[in-house]
Structures are given as structure tokens and as C-alpha cells.
Amino acid sequence: MIRRAALLALVVVSVARAQSLEPPPEAGEGDYTLERADSLDDAEFEVAIGAASHGSGSDFRGSQRVSFRGGGARGTLRDGDEALSGGRVEAPLARGTLTAGRLSPRWGRGLALGGTGEPWVFTAEDRGAGTRYRGRAGTGLGFDVRGTSLLAGRFAGHEVLGAHTRAGAGAVGVLAGGGSVQGSVSLDSEQRSWELAFDRLGRWRAEAASSGAIGDTRVSLRARGGLAAFRSLAEPARAGPPRALAGAATRAFALADVSAFGALWAWRVGESGARAALEVDARLGEHQSFACGAEDQHGPRREPSPRARPSGTRQGWWCEWRGGSPGARLALRHELWGTRALARDAVRRAVVARADWAVPFGGRLALTHAVWRVRSGESLYLPEAQADRLVLRASSGAGSRTRCDLRLPIATGTIRLGLSLATGGTRSASRRPAWSVEWSRRSRLATAASSSRGSANEIRGADGEAHELRVVRHAGAGEGARGEGPEHHPLGDR
């Protein structure tokens, strides 16, 4: 049983890492910020105060953040943060858990609530419990007790009520709001899951996913069918294609892990797409690795508007090397996309280097420099890993971006200084240097509590995860999701 669960987790993780991190369909133009899940141990809290440049002048904006976890309660509250305002608090109540603030639930496969929106992504990384990022699908109240979840909040511009209950591997849920009612029936076992979602007009969608192993190869499959008219009333922008088929396979060889991905999907009659990708990830000793991949895409990746131009072929390849020692590390990456075979007739090219060093007094200095060239009509997102977030910087035209981060333990906490300089085409309005400073301190709530994760003032979770330095993410321009109106843009998303 445990081995099966571990296998499933490995498959899901490998699939998730292979997918590009992109702004979700509900995001509009410009930068997008993903909030990292906190890394607090039990009985810990963290306070942070900071300031960052604001606008094109000399203005700056202060911010405060408090995160805590202990006694069954946990939460994060932010104030003054331009990209991530608000918060979320969970507390035990009547043998259950009450949640208030930002909500990002997922039911089953996500057809009714918590979907991905991307045709080839198996599971959203910012929906549901235990995900890498905290999503912001809506705001309101949630209550979980004994396998039953209730929620009431504002999603996609209207009030939504929901109830979801699990019995064994099965689950049933109902969503109501905006003059509509939707139902969800799902089954979640260790290696297989499926969901049927429907509304009272008879519109429906169904999806099934399975993971397992064929010999030494880990395999996962996903199939979806249904009507194009059905879309979640809570998250309509993440409806995704009504018909899709996706698969992934990963095998560990002696020299490298090799992964293959394939997906087919259809938005409407005559508007279909396909994607195939191959990745090789090799570890070269204790601190070095090399990864490369090739990808081929046809058709629209996001739901096209009826007047959208047909999307053509995109072929791309990328390679990335990382090396050095813990005291001095270097990462190099190159990515190229073209409209013809073998990535010829380039439409997107990006080169990124990141170096970081240990500095005296236990600090760390990192310098990231990215250069890109993007043809008109295409877009590019450059991830920028920060202490508690991942910012996807929208980039266009030709330009460069440099970011310098310095972390130093100081005054029983940690101070982080950041400086960004964009010298070319970006969608951010300002080309002036942008700066930020934040001091944070992590402490234990009770001295009796013990932890194996280091001292209270240890710097943690600030390097970003390895996949976040797979530095170039992209999304085709002009493929916006239907209904990309203001109601689908949570305030904190940008």
C-alpha cells in the first residue's frame, strides 16, 4: 500500500515538474505572482516587515506579513503587499477546521472546482491541500469536518455556496451560485481517479486519470470528455478543453531520467491542439546536473476567442546546466522556440545565468541575469524566485533583466535586499530599478515543542525550488480564456 502511494506521488510529481509554470487562464496581461506554501513547522510563527519601490517615481510601499502554525491553527496575513494582499486563517472548531480568507479548494479532478485550465496539466499546483503554491480562487469561509466540506464565498465575481462529502474513496459535491447549480461525483483511489460534473441543464464533463508502472517505467494517463458549454460556475476561466487526452511516462536509466509527454485536445470543432515533449535529466555528481528537452506544439493552448487567428506550430528545445559547490553555484540555461521544424524561424529565445555565493556572516548573494528576444505577438514569462513567492515576469520584444538578492542574518532575523533592473522590453510599466527590502524573524511559539528542522533563525525556503530555476516559461499571446473580464482577476493576482 505504501509503495503504491509512493509510486503515485512520484508519478504526479514528475508530471507536475515537467509542466511549464504559466499564469493561469484567469490572469490578465502583465506579471503574475504565485504565493509559495509556507514552510513553518508546528508551533512556529514568522513576522516580516518590508518595503518595496512602487511605480516609476521614488515612491515606496511598506508591507507586513505574519504567518503562524500551532495548536491546529495556521494562517498567513498580509498587509500592504501589492501582489499578495489579504490572507488565510485555519482554526479548529467543533472537531472540524474553519477556514477564512483566500480559498482555493479542489474537488475530485477539478472539473467543478479547482481545475487546471491547461490541456496537458494533470493537477493544478495552486488548488487543493498540500500543493506547492497557495491559490486564490475566491474569498470566503470554509468548514471541514469528518470528510465533509462546506464553503461560502465569492468566486469569479459572484457568491457561491458549496458542499462536498467523502465516503471512502467516493465523494459527492454540490455548488450553487450565480443562478446555477452544479453537481460533482468523484472517486479517488491510490492509482485511479475520476469525476463527473454536471449542471441542471444537462451539460456535463467527465475526466479519469490513472497512474501506475509498466516495468520500470512510471506511466500516467488522463482522459476527458463532455460538452464545451459546461464550465465551472466558481472558476469558469479554468474550464479547459472539453475533450482531452494526455499521457506521461518516466523511466530512470543509469545516466539520466528520461520523460516523455503527449497530449491531444479539442476546444471546438476544428480547433484542436497537440503537444509532445521529451526531457532528459541527468545528475552529474553531487552538485551538478544537466537537463535538456524538446517540445512540439500545435493549435491553441488556451481557449481561443471566435475571432482569434489560428495558432500555428511551435517547436522548441531547451537545455540547462547547474554546477558548483554549496559555497558557489552557477546555473546556465538556453531556450529557443521556432515556428518551423527544429525550432527554426525563431519566435522566442532566452538565455539566463544565475550565480549565487555564500557570503560572510552566513548570508547568501545571488545574481540572475536574463536576456530574451520575443517576436511581436508572442509572449514570454521569466520566473523570479523570491522568499515567499514566485513572480512570473511578463516579457516581450528584446531586453534583459537583472536581479540581485542578498540575504543576511541580522538582528535575530533575516534581512533580504533585492534589486531588479530591466533594460529592455517588458510589460511592466517601469524601467527604473526596482528595489525591495524585508526583515523577517521566525520563532517558536512554545519552548517545549521540538523540531528536527533547524534553529528558529535559520534561513529556509528562500532559494526557490529547483524547477523554479527552469527559468523560461511561456504562453502564447492572444490565446486568452473566454470571459477574461475583470471579474476573473482576483485583486491579489497582480
Binding site: 538556453h334 529565445r349 550565480a355 533594460t423 529592455g424
Partner: protein, 261 residues
């Protein structure tokens, strides 16, 4: 005069590194590495170097530079002065490099200020808006016993008059020390699609010969250097299918405090 003007325009559009010497890419011994690409030398060295570059075979378009470099423990510093072109249309550059390096890794910063040669100069107006200033950073690391990877961004920040050449991020990996092969990748700029280069070097004491091929457009470079005691003489020829040949000569005095592994 027209010829000089055309030559200068070509140089500005094609290539004009003020402190680039005649060494091949990725060399850990290049005395110009810190000034030109913010890559400090691996060894603690005291250097003095002079170089001359004739761009595209035009006698009126030459770059002459002198540079000195020094070390203190793991710290590296370099200072250079160069002059390009005739007094009417040329420019003078002052470069400064600073960094730290060990035998396994190094990182540096560089800054360069340019001023037209015919501009009136005084201490009070040393860095006015008429000057061009740029600053950049670079880092290298030994990825194996003889594998060196580097990243150099010579113009992270620019101000004032535009530099003669926009120099974007360059990535490279070199395998070997004196007998070596390397690959370089230069990021795209507005108006081009970047550059890719492949090179090899062979060492037959006291000579080293090397060659490099680059694309966009396809072209190449060859170089020859000789080291006798503390003196190094190097020559390099870059061939361009349209612009012609660029010849660089350099003479360096270098005293290493310890031998490179």
C-alpha cells in the same frame, strides 16, 4: 574622412570591445578577462598588457589599450585605458575590474567609461552626460577537473552615450586547460538572433594555436600565442564574410604567484 566615418560606423555596428585581447575564449590566463568580461583570473597574477586591434583592415580604425592587473589573496583587480579611432571621431575608454577568485570559482564586476576623443575634457566634467558608462558582472566555476563554465554580462547597466556595441549575456563551457575545446552562446540582441561559437586550442610548448567558428553569419577566428618566461605574445585574426579581417596583437607581462593546477 568618409572612410574613417564608415569604418567607425561599421565598428560600432559589428564589434568594438575596448579591452579585448588576443586570447581565446574561456582562458583562465587571459589578462583582459576581468576588464572585458568581468571574469577574474584563477591564479593570483600581476599583469601588464598592451594590445592593438585593427578593425576590418582599416588603418584609420585601430584600438590601442594598456591594462594592469593585480591580486591580493583571492581578490583581483584590473585597470585599463584604451583609445579607438582618429581624434575627430574616436573615443577613449577607461575600464576598471574587481573580483574574487579561487582555483574552483570566480566572480567579478567591471565598469567602463567612454568619452569622445574630441570632447573637451576637464576633471570637473569628467563624468558628464556626454560620457557613456557601463557596468557588468561575470562568474565562472570549475565544473570538473578541467571543465570550466562561465557567464558574462558585460553591460548589465548602461548610462549616457550608447556603447559602441551592445554586448548581451554570454555563456560558455570549456573543457581542458591548454589543450581545450569550448562552446559559447551569446544571447540575442535587438536585431539579431544571438551567436553560437565552437573552438579548439592546441598547445605545443611554447606555442598555443587555437581556432573558433561562429555563426550568424558563419565566420571564424584563429589565434597564436607564445609564452617565454613571464612574457606572452599573442595574435588573433577574425574573419568576417562582409566586413573583412580584424587583427589583434597583444603583449603581456605576467607573474603568477602559484601555478595553475
Amino acid at each position: 574622412m568618409r572612410r574613417v566615418l564608415a569604418a567607425l560606423l561599421l565598428a560600432r555596428a559589428a564589434a568594438a570591445q575596448d579591452f579585448s585581447g588576443a586570447s581565446p575564449a574561456g582562458s583562465t590566463r587571459a589578462p583582459d578577462g576581468l576588464l572585458d568580461r568581468a571574469l577574474p583570473p584563477a591564479t593570483a597574477t600581476i599583469t601588464a598588457a598592451a594590445s592593438q586591434t585593427r578593425w576590418w583592415g582599416l588603418p584609420d580604425l585601430e584600438t590601442r589599450s594598456v591594462a594592469v592587473g593585480g591580486s591580493f589573496h583571492s581578490w583581483r583587480a584590473a585597470l585599463g585605458l584604451s583609445q579607438t579611432g582618429e581624434p575627430e571621431l574616436g573615443w577613449t575608454s577607461l575600464g576598471l575590474g574587481f573580483g574574487a577568485a579561487s582555483e574552483r570559482a570566480g566572480a567579478g564586476l567591471r565598469a567602463c567609461a567612454r568619452r569622445d576623443r574630441d570632447a573637451p575634457w576637464s576633471v570637473a566634467h569628467a563624468l558628464t552626460t556626454g560620457d557613456g558608462v557601463e557596468a557588468g558582472a561575470g562568474a565562472w566555476i570549475m565544473a570538473g577537473d578541467a571543465v570550466r563554465a562561465w557567464a558574462s554580462a558585460p553591460q548589465v547597466w548602461t548610462s549616457g552615450a550608447s556603447p559602441p556595441l551592445m554586448r548581451p549575456l554570454e555563456l560558455g563551457i570549456r573543457i581542458g586547460d591548454v589543450d581545450a575545446a569550448w562552446v559559447r552562446l551569446v544571447a540575442p540582441r535587438a536585431g539579431d538572433d544571438g551567436e553560437r561559437a565552437l573552438g579548439v586550442a592546441l598547445h605545443v610548448a611554447p606555442l598555443q594555436v587555437w581556432a573558433e567558428a561562429r555563426d550568424a553569419p558563419l565566420r571564424g577566428s584563429v589565434g597564436l600565442s607564445a609564452a617565454v618566461a613571464v612574457l606572452r605574445v599573442a595574435a588573433r585574426i577574425d574573419a568576417h564574410p562582409v566586413l573583412g579581417e580584424t587583427v589583434r596583437l597583444s603583449l603581456a607581462w605576467a607573474r603568477e604567484r602559484r601555478s595553475h593546477p
